[in-house]
Amino acid sequence: MAIEITRSGKRSLILETPVMNAAGAFGYGDVYRDIIKYEKLGAIITAPISYEARSAARGGRVVPLDSAVLLHTGLPNPGLNKVLRKYRSLWESLALPVIVHLIATTDEQVRKASARLDEEDCVDAIELGLRDDITWQEASRLVGSAVTKTDKPVLVRLPVSDAYEIADAVAGAGASTLVVAAPPRGTARDPQSGKLISGRIYGPVVKPIVLNMVGQIARRVDVPVVGAGGIHSPQDARDYLDAGAAAVQVDSVIWRSPKELEIIARDLGGYIVTRQTDAMPDEWHRGMGDTEQERQRRKNRRDA
């Protein structure tokens, strides 16, 4: 299978399987090597990296919510150059595309970072992460800054707020792919300190909201869409493809059950093959795919 998740043209990114991790759910590609068979994935995306080092947020960082978790980390990272020094040889050794998630801080830093990444053979594409309260004008400018400095595909991960306006704007500015969406920003009371904390929301509750956005944006904008948000099962991922996504990103379920990423990837590999030969999507409910059958066999073995 070959799935192009970018606009056709020179900045092209083709995946074997339409499933990857989401930025921040997977570290820099090193941590789950003993658990997940990377060759089953379509690509991997690094944790968010900024041009300069960032330190972490102070105070509460994790707030358990009803059916979700709120995380407020401040996106700590050692900065682009240090990350490249440490992980370049790992990324070179991997047989699948590596996408660097670049935190879009300032125009200048985005230009410098994009130029830097353009030279790196181990990097196949850039995913730009935008501030959650960005305007479409700023978003357009930041994407323009990246695109002028690299010939690699530039994916843009949209914030939930103002996603439609920003989708239009960054498509115009040259984004190769729209990743819909970053975890929605939320505010909740930290049960330990009693203070209101703002952060990102992860969990199945995100899926209905983002699934709807994917449908809207896929219809509205002529750029391939990657769906991301609350995918916790193969069925969740298939729902995104049905709604118009070319591929999906799996996030926080990896923390709880790393193997689920591989399970979803194996299942969707089969789904795409079948869908393109005109099978009914409805045949593909849980319990039908090869993976499910294998899972069942494993379960039976364990129970026996």
Binding site: V31, Y32, A47, R61, P64, P76, Q192, Y202, W255
Partner: protein
């Protein structure tokens, strides 16, 4: 990092506050040392999207014992899903003779696995319980451990003597802000000793760990030696290296 499944083989009600679970593992449980914890996902019991750290308190040939609050409900035969042992073992000095363990406003559970190892190596152990930890029932602990119950705050009788006599101190704390608590601990030890030397005073950090493998960034800690992740580099950090 290797996912593993464990079976609850026995449940012992130790006292009204705590229970001990005997866990046996599919395959080998691996080498476990004081400081490591099991990152466990228990369907329906804990939060569905967050794992919990389970602290072993003793190790037998074919099972380990973990200490859990008595109010949680488990069943014999229940299977728990663990993301392996996480963290790095506590670093003990060579020529160690006296170790001080301190639990303030939280049960001393993360410190208890040190006790058999330390006593086995003829190192004397003092356990100080302050704040709400004062009510922790210690009848199940080895009699050779000296138990000191302190005050409501972070003070106890003979604290100056204990701090001077100890070669190493490991502290676990409860409360809303772990960083603030450890700053308080550090300041307190500075009043007890002329100066706090490196490799003497360790904080055992226990935030919620969403991933436990260094992937999510939620447990990032700034130290004077550079950035660290509590889940992979912790739980114990030298408090002289803490960035204030």
């Amino acid at each position: 990092m290797k996912e593993t499944r464990a079976l609850i083989e026995r449940i012992i009600e130790v006292n009204s506050a705590i229970q001990h679970l005997h866990l046996s593992f599919e395959g080998s449980p691996g080498r476990i040392k004081p400081g490591l914890s099991l990152l466990v996902g228990v369907a329906d019991i804990a939060h569905p999207y967050l794992r919990e750290s389970w602290w072993p308190v003793s190790i037998k040939d074919d099972f380990i014992v973990v200490e859990r609050p008595a109010k949680e409900r488990y069943e014999i035969g229940q299977v728990v899903n663990a993301l392996g042992y996480i963290g790095k073992p506590y670093l003990f000095r060579r020529n160690l003779r006296n170790v001080l363990l301190v639990a303030h406003d939280t049960p001393p559970t993360p410190l208890l696995l040190t006790i058999p190892w330390l006593l086995g190596n003829k190192i004397s152990v003092t356990l100080v319980l302050t704040g709400t930890a004062r009510t922790y029932n210690t009848e199940h602990l080895d009699r050779r451990v000296e138990i000191i119950r302190g005050d409501e705050g972070f003070t106890w009788p003979d604290q100056v003597m204990n701090a001077g006599w100890a070669d190493q101190v490991f502290v676990t704390t409860g409360g809303a802000d772990e960083n603030a608590a450890f700053r308080m601990v550090y300041d307190h030890f500075e009043t007890l000793r002329a100066s706090v030397q490196p490799n003497y005073l360790f904080g055992v950090f226990r935030p919620i760990l969403p991933c436990g493998v260094g992937a999510c960034g939620a447990c990032w800690l700034a130290s004077k030696r550079g950035a660290a992740m509590i889940c992979t580099d912790g739980p114990a950090f030298d408090l002289t290296q803490m960035v204030r």
